[in-house]
């Protein structure tokens, strides 16, 4: 029995090696949480994948698995790509963090890049994320300038730091224009349910919001805003074609430069494990064209964008107070990344109670 086992394992290994050595192209793998057609999160990662294909042409072979649930299936899907001879694998959802690290230990020669996580348990794992909150500050400013009612509606998914940070940044941006600006937050407990997102948008508009912004993936809120004469912002990708007269701008997740650079690094043999949290300065977060705005509002938005890009300004610059009115950080100081990464409190002025 034991010899049979050994023989089978030997066969398995030889097959795996055969696949790996058979290709001189670099194989690049992607694991997606949703369908490519979501026009939000996964869509933008896929745009990045296409950019890798365009940049390297015949020198790479790019494969992906979509709709991979964040459970036991993730580890298998990642392992499959690694066994299939992938040289570098991008896993593009937070829930893939532990599976990615576990697989990485078994495949020391494969490079792993995990998106939005913080664990790097071996030196062939990198983490990368984008400072989306930089864009949220800009749209917060626009919202406060464009709103007639002084109320914006925020469709939020889940109370994780990423989302809370976005809400705070938006509010700080809005308060920099109008200190009395009001923000209504609705948690829909989903990243993606067009119907429910649409319902939330309608409810918010019904409650007096005339600007809608969202941290969910579908284009539905934008369409509702268009229908009801409100304004809104695109999320993750430029959604202008869904609401040509409504979208003011969009925060675009631009992974393409990062993906191209990392694949290049593997080819050059210069790839190293790192933790990257890039924003506008590195072009990882970009703003879609400012549309449906008066020139002066657009000009201010562009100026803020330029200041954030150049590093002259950080959205979380003090003084910042929390909801209890306590000062979190004083005049002129900037919240450090550790605080930002674990953010689970609201800034002063937000009416909502943060679900704990």
């Amino acid at each position: 029995m034991r010899t049979l086992f050994a023989a089978l394992t030997g066969l398995a290994l030889s097959l795996a090696v055969g696949v790996a050595s058979g290709a001189d192209k670099l194989k690049v793998g992607y694991i997606y949480i949703g369908p490519i057609g979501d026009h939000g999160w996964t869509y933008q990662h896929n745009e990045g994948r296409l950019a890798v294909e365009a940049a390297f042409g015949d020198k790479v072979e790019v494969v992906y698995v979509e709709n991979v649930p964040e459970g036991p299936d993730a580890e298998r899907a990642i392992t499959r790509l690694a066994r299939d001879g992938a040289g570098i694998i991008f896993t593009t959802s937070f829930g893939y963090m532990d599976p990615t690290n576990r697989v990485a230990k078994n495949f020391p020669d494969v490079k792993f890049e995990h998106n939005t996580g913080y664990k790097r348990q071996s030196d062939n794992v990198s983490t990368y994320n984008a400072r989306f909150y930089e864009g949220r500050y800009v749209i917060g400013q626009i919202a406060a300038r464009m709103s007639k009612s002084g109320v914006a509606g925020y469709i939020a998914s889940f109370p994780i730091p990423e989302v809370v940070r976005g809400i705070n940044s938006f509010m700080l941006g809005a308060q920099s224009v109008n200190p009395d600006f009001k923000l209504k937050v609705v948690w829909v407990s989903t990243w993606f349910d067009p119907g429910k997102e649409a319902d939330a948008a309608k409810v918010l508009i019904g409650q007096g919001a005339d600007i809608i912004t969202q941290h969910t993936d579908s284009t539905a809120p934008l369409q509702i805003a268009a229908e009801q004469g409100a304004h809104a912002f695109g999320q993750a990708s430029d959604m202008i074609k869904f609401a040509p007269d409504t979208q003011l701008t969009a925060i675009v997740n631009n992974w393409a430069p990062y993906y191209v650079a990392r694949v290049q690094a593997v080819m050059d043999g210069t790839w190293q494990s790192h933790d990257v949290w890039d924003g506008m300065s590195a072009g990882m977060v970009t703003m879609a064209p400012y549309t449906n705005l008066p020139d002066d509002v657009a000009a201010v938005a562009k100026e803020t964008e330029a200041k954030i890009t150049s590093g002259d300004f950080h959205p979380f610059t003090g003084p910042i107070h929390n909801q209890a009115g306590e000062m979190v950080i004083g005049e002129g100081e900037v919240l450090d990344d550790g605080v930002l990464l674990g953010m689970n409190w609201y800034v002063k002025g937000i009416d909502d109670k943060l679900p704990q």
Binding site: P35, G37, D38, H39, Y43, G153, P159, K184, V185, V186, W187, V188, S189, T190, F192, D193, P194, G195, K196, E197, A198, D199, A200, K202, V203, L204, I205, G206, Q207, G208, S218, T219, A220, Q223, I224, E227, K241, F242, D351, D352, K353, P355
Partner: protein, 306 residues
């Protein structure tokens, strides 16, 4: 527009697809067939509805295409469960799987394209009334259709010969057969009707609710529709009440958050389901109410012995 008006309108849009799909399934179940493939038929209705409207530029064509897709899917189910007497539960689940996959394939070329919106019907005079106008007379054709179909189903089931045959088929297919009714044919017709309604519900999602095509855009509404039928103890008007109750609890969950009351979002999201269970317990406490409409033969296969 007042806040109340806005909430009512939102509730109506949220409830309509549930009502459409549920009323169709009700007829299917009253004939003694359990089709768990509502989600699959609905999502096919959505993608074909969108595609039809996008290609021709006419929302009406979209509605018809959605309806057709629902019927086509239901006939697959009908052929398997009626002609080949396969297990209805498993076939329905497989139909959902198949529908989700096929709709994704068909929809690949339609994702991210702007949709055609089903416009509201303007009734001169009535639609312009304050409050009553927008709430009662400012809807698209499918909202009215959902109500009309409910009334029609209630009338047909209780007042007509066709209804009698359907109920007999669901109540005791052997007797119905002995009386000379073609059980399989009746069930085929009911299944097709259910498919048509599910297709309309899907079309409503892709043409009126959120005019676009996105994979899995039904997001579990087909399952809720199924639950509503049982919740309503197979009575048409109670399906309407259930659909609107569910829609109301759903929207209110979002509404109270907007006002800023600190209740966990998960509790609010789970509320419609808890309310449904509670209401169901109340209803089934009354045995007469449940027994009356329950199709005794539900889910059981029938093979005519010539």
């Amino acid at each position: 527009m007042t806040a109340l008006e806005a909430v009512l309108l939102t509730i109506i849009t949220a409830s309509t697809p549930l009502l459409l799909a549920a009323i169709g399934e009700l007829v299917v179940e009253r004939s003694g067939v359990l089709n768990l493939g509502v989600e699959g038929m609905m999502v096919m209705g959505a993608v074909c509805g969108f595609a039809g409207a996008h290609i021709t530029g006419s929302a009406a064509v979209g509605v018809v295409a959605g309806l057709g897709a629902g019927v086509a899917m239901s006939l697959v189910f009908g052929f398997l469960t009626q002609t080949l007497v396969t297990n209805q539960v498993a076939t329905g689940l497989a139909l959902t799987l198949f529908g989700l996959g096929l709709s994704g394939l068909i929809g690949e070329s339609f994702t991210g394209l702007p949709g055609v919106k089903l416009t509201a019907i303007h009734i001169p005079g009535l639609s312009d009334l304050p409050f009553v106008g927008p709430v009662l007379f400012g809807h698209d054709v499918l909202v009215y259709a959902s109500i009309a179909i409910t009334v029609l189903v209630a009338w047909v089931l209780t007042r007509t010969r066709i209804g009698l045959v359907i109920r007999a088929t669901g109540g005791n297919h052997h007797s119905a057969h002995a009386l000379g009714y073609n059980v399989v044919a009746v069930r085929y017709a009911c299944i097709a009707f259910g498919g048509a309604c599910a297709g309309l519900a899907g079309a409503y999602l892709a043409l009126a609710y959120t005019p676009q095509w996105i994979e899995n855009m039904t997001a579990g509404r087909g399952w809720i529709a199924l639950a509503l039928v049982v919740f309503a103890t197979w009575a048409p008007f109670r399906v309407a009440v259930g659909a609107y109750l569910f829609g109301t609890v759903w929207i209110m969950g979002l509404y109270v958050q907007g006002i800023g009351i600190g209740i966990p979002a998960q509790l609010l999201a789970a509320l419609p389901y808890l309310v449904t269970i509670a209401a169901l317990v109340l209803i089934s406490g009354n045995r007469v109410l449940t027994k009356m409409n329950t199709p005794a033969c539900i889910g059981q296969p029938f093979v005519p012995d010539r």
